[in-house]
């Protein structure tokens, strides 16, 4: 049986040479992301803004979105966002926080039920008060910050500090770009998005760590090799794994995106984006950063001389 090979054996791409392109490129899209974040802003869900979200499905054939919109506006409950989604007459209504506090929030649900209860099945009702949404914002930010710090510490213990810094720069890069992705696509940003971001952080780090592990191994082996060449060798020798795992993970995410339903869809989109940039940043950001930080393995070079003997010249070429 002929087996599939996406990446041919013994590649020797000059990834490091690309840093003169990849660094300005990343800087540019990071700037665009930051710009989009501040200029357009995120499309926050009610988890973070507070308010009421109601999803309903018509009981009688097709949803009349126009009349829903008018009827919802007539309720006089402040700004209301009416959206049709799915293909079976599903409508979502989103109301902002009511000025009259928690009691007012509850009244929204009752009034919507009274208006639409006859013709629609209520599939989802979410009411988030101002205090809860504030806390969710806090724990979301805290989660992202904490995980970066925790991973930084772990990598610092396991590797040299340069590696930890390189990994965190790459992770921040991914984080900024993901926020930009949310801002530009206007995909709703909610607690599930925080889960997506943390998973992207985890995945990107996972990828980076695999490359770093190889760099460390080769640093011990070839003490004399110029760092850029060594990084290229490390990335090339892990390249097929990097691509394979990106493919299997993307396949799983693709299945989620196509069949997982509306809640999971935006999560999957963000994740697929995250996989792509996570893979990119491990190769083109995390590794080349090591050149500037001057990564070297501590300790003397005794074992190196003995090991260079069996250095496979074919892979270095």
């Amino acid at each position: 049986m002929k087996l599939l090979r996406i990446i041919p054996d013994d590649t020797s791409f000059g990834f490091m040479a690309f840093r003169r392109l990849s660094f300005p490129f990343s800087a540019l899209i990071s700037l665009i992301s930051v710009g989009a974040f501040f200029a357009i802003g995120l499309n926050f869900g009610i988890d973070f803004t507070g308010g009421t979200l109601i999803e309903m499905k018509t009981l009688t054939g097709k949803a009349d979105i126009a009349s829903v919109r008018t009827a919802a506006a007539e309720l006089d409950l402040g700004d209301v966002e009416v959206q049709e989604f799915g293909n079976q007459g599903e409508v979502s209504l989103r109301f902002g926080l009511q000025p009259s506090g928690e009691k007012g929030q509850q009244a929204v649900v009752e009034r919507v039920r009274a208006t639409f209860g006859k013709d629609y099945e209520f599939r989802r009702v979410e009411v988030v008060g101002p205090r809860v949404s504030g806390e969710l914002v806090q724990s979301g930010i805290l989660g992202v910050v904490l995980s970066i710090i925790a991973v930084l510490i772990y990598l610092w213990f396991r590797f040299e500090w340069q590696f930890a810094v390189g990994a965190v720069i790459a992770t921040l890069h991914d984080l900024v770009l993901t926020m930009g992705f949310f801002a530009i696509t206007q995909i709703e940003f909610n607690m599930t998005s925080i889960a997506a971001i943390l998973t992207i952080v985890g995945y990107s780090l996972n990828d980076t760590v695999v490359v770093f592990d190889r760099i460390r191994e080769l640093l011990r082996k070839y003490k004399k090799m110029p760092i850029a060449e060594l990084l290229d060798l490390s990335i090339n020798s892990t390249l097929s794994r990097t691509v394979m795992t990106s493919v299997t993970t993307s396949l799983a995410l693709l299945a989620l995106m196509l069949f997982g339903g509306s809640v999971i869809k935006s999560f999957s989109w963000a994740m697929i984006f995250g996989i792509v940039i996570g893979t990119y940043s491990s190769i083109f950001i995390a590794a080349p950063v090591l050149i500037y930080l001057g990564a070297r393995v501590s300790g003397d070079g005794q074992e190196a001389t003995s090991e260079t003997a069996d250095a496979p010249q074919s892979t270095v070429r």
Binding site: R123, V127, V151, Y154, L205, N206, V209, D213, T248, L254
Partner: protein, 536 residues
């Protein structure tokens, strides 16, 4: 690499079998599970014979998640009021007349006693209020109240932060009890009521189509009072104007003095009035309540008696004759459901403080079922794609990885069933995602084996090197994933937490299945087939 002791192989096989056994109930119908449980001999511990299906989150089975917050200001207010009453009683007992009276502060009460002798008599009594009666719940030795005596005879008792917190904690404990009784009376299955943080209660009730009734029941304080309707002077300080529950009715002047309270009720049942066949609530007092009610009604025949619930007048019937039997009925133009609800509320007792709904998430059963279906389809499609891809890329070794992958998913389900964690929609997404990432360990190993083989090592040496060298990488890369998933678990709530759970379990099982099991499979295969070169 090649040698595995029989014990080791047996242990791994046992783990796999246990995984399938514990995951199996989730695939059975509820009837089969019950039959299985009934068939289990009683002497076997319940964890040995699994019949526990995985617990589905409310977003999958449909249901309501309601987060209630106790009104801390109200708790403090009652606490201050009780303190004021206690101090007033002491002053009255000691027959001390005050010039200025008691001053109620936001978090305490102060009184000016200029006479030194009088002060000497009263202050020790006040101190008794300060010393907590029960030191077990004293909050680690922190005083609930402090007493400050000033030069000019001003004595202030103030409630400390610890005192307020302690009170709120107790109020929540009480409220949980009351809510449990109320929800049990609704007859819903498996409600989950638990404290969250200091001042919140989380109520999760599966399978309600319309949670309005649940919310009505949760949000009512249900403080029932029987009080006289004032006659004549409505502006007296002992009278207050209270609104009526029935719409478009004017407020009534009601005496502040409470004759009997809800806590003196021993039963309340919905029923129908025999003459008007209107829905009513029949109630029964305890002995103390019956006595007080009897005395009050016999003294006030002909007057109107107001039935007040949470500062609103339900009705104010005229007393025809003295009611001494300790039984009565409340009528107030109820609907059948309203009478039912009131009876439930009165039986369960009043909440110690008002609760507000600060968060609600309800998923209808239709959407829940749809989510399960789409989650299943996504999982199957992902599994087929990944399994196919692994097989096309690695052939026989891919097949080994695929077997490990299937066991990996089974083990996640088994762990979730065994520990009893909840499967949510994001949790399903987490499992599907781990289908994609679980094979990463295999990919790392296989790619390493190929590399080693390309460098001219023998087959067996490549296998050996592949497994050992890749292992450190696998650990490092999984630890970083684990850290982020664990943080998400501690900070996330509800469905998102379900995602973190499956991710964490997925990371743990992947190391076992992808490393240990594949290695064992390859070793067994190698010792049988003795291939000369790698097949990929």
């Amino acid at each position: 690499m090649l040698r595995y002791s029989r014990a080791k192989i047996a242990a791994v096989l046992l783990l796999v079998v246990a995984g399938f056994v514990y995951a199996a109930p989730s695939l059975m119908s509820p009837e089969t599970r019950t039959a299985l449980r009934d068939a289990t001999p009683g002497f076997l511990p319940s964890w040995l014979m699994p019949h526990q299906a995985i617990v589905l989150g409310l977003d999958l089975q449909g249901g309501s998640h309601v987060l209630l917050e106790v009104d801390s200001a109200a708790v403090l207010k009652t606490q201050v009021a009780t303190l004021r009453d206690d101090m007033r009683r002491i002053l009255r007992d000691e027959k001390i007349a005050l010039a200025g009276g008691l001053a109620v502060l936001p978090r305490g009460v102060s009184v000016r006693i200029t006479d030194e002798a009088e002060r000497a008599r009263v202050v020790p009594k006040f101190r008794e209020l300060v010393t907590p009666t029960s030191s077990i719940m004293g909050g680690g030795g922190q005083a609930a109240m402090i007493l400050v005596e000033e030069q000019d005879g001003l004595v202030t008792l103030s409630i400390t932060i610890a005192g307020v917190t302690e009170k709120i904690r107790k109020a929540i404990d009480q409220a949980i009890e009351v809510l449990r009784r109320r929800i049990d009376a609704l007859g819903t299955t498996e409600p989950n009521i638990q404290r969250q943080g200091i001042d919140r209660i989380l109520v999760q009730v599966p399978g309600l189509q319309d949670p309005k009734r649940l919310k009505d029941i949760l949000g009512t304080t249900a403080q029932l009072e029987f009080r006289m309707v004032a006659e004549g002077n409505a502006s007296s300080p002992d009278v207050e104007m209270l609104p009526q529950t029935e719409a478009n009715q004017p407020p009534l002047p009601i005496e502040k003095r409470v004759i009997v309270q809800g806590e003196d009720l021993i039963d309340a049942q919905p029923g129908f009035d025999q003459r008007t066949s209107e829905p009513i609530v029949n109630f029964k007092f305890n002995i103390r309540g019956a006595q007080r009610f009897g005395t009050a009604t016999s003294e006030s025949v002909g007057r109107a008696l107001a039935i007040v619930l949470d500062k609103k007048v339900i009705s104010a019937p005229r007393i025809q004759t003295a009611i001494t039997g300790g039984q009565g009925q409340i009528s107030g133009r109820f609907t059948v459901e309203a009478a039912n609800n009131l009876a439930i509320l009165l039986r369960a007792g009043a909440l110690p403080a008002p609760l507000t709904i600060v968060e609600e998430r309800t998923v209808g059963p239709g959407l829940g079922q749809d989510s399960i279906n789409s989650g299943k389809i996504a999982a199957y499609v992902a599994a087929v794609l990944v399994i196919g891809f692994m097989f096309v890329t690695y052939g026989l070794f891919g097949f080994f990885a695929n077997i490990a992958l299937i066991i990996h998913v089974v083990l996640i389900f088994a762990m979730m069933s065994l520990i009893g964690t909840t499967l949510t929609l994001p949790g399903i997404a987490g499992i599907v995602l781990t289908i994609g990432t679980a094979v990463d360990s295999n990919v790392l190993i296989y790619e390493r084996i190929r590399e080693e083989a390309r460098q001219g090592r023998s087959m067996i040496a490549s296998l050996e090197a592949g497994f050992t060298r890749a292992f450190a990488t696998i650990v490092d890369s999984n630890v970083t994933m684990f850290i982020t998933a664990a943080i998400l678990f501690f900070l996330g709530s509800g469905p998102v937490r379900g995602f973190a759970v499956t991710m964490v379990f997925g990371i743990v099982t992947t190391v076992v299945t992808a490393v240990t099991m594949t290695r064992m499979m390859i070793a067994l295969w190698y010792t049988r087939a003795r291939p000369q070169k790698l097949s990929f």
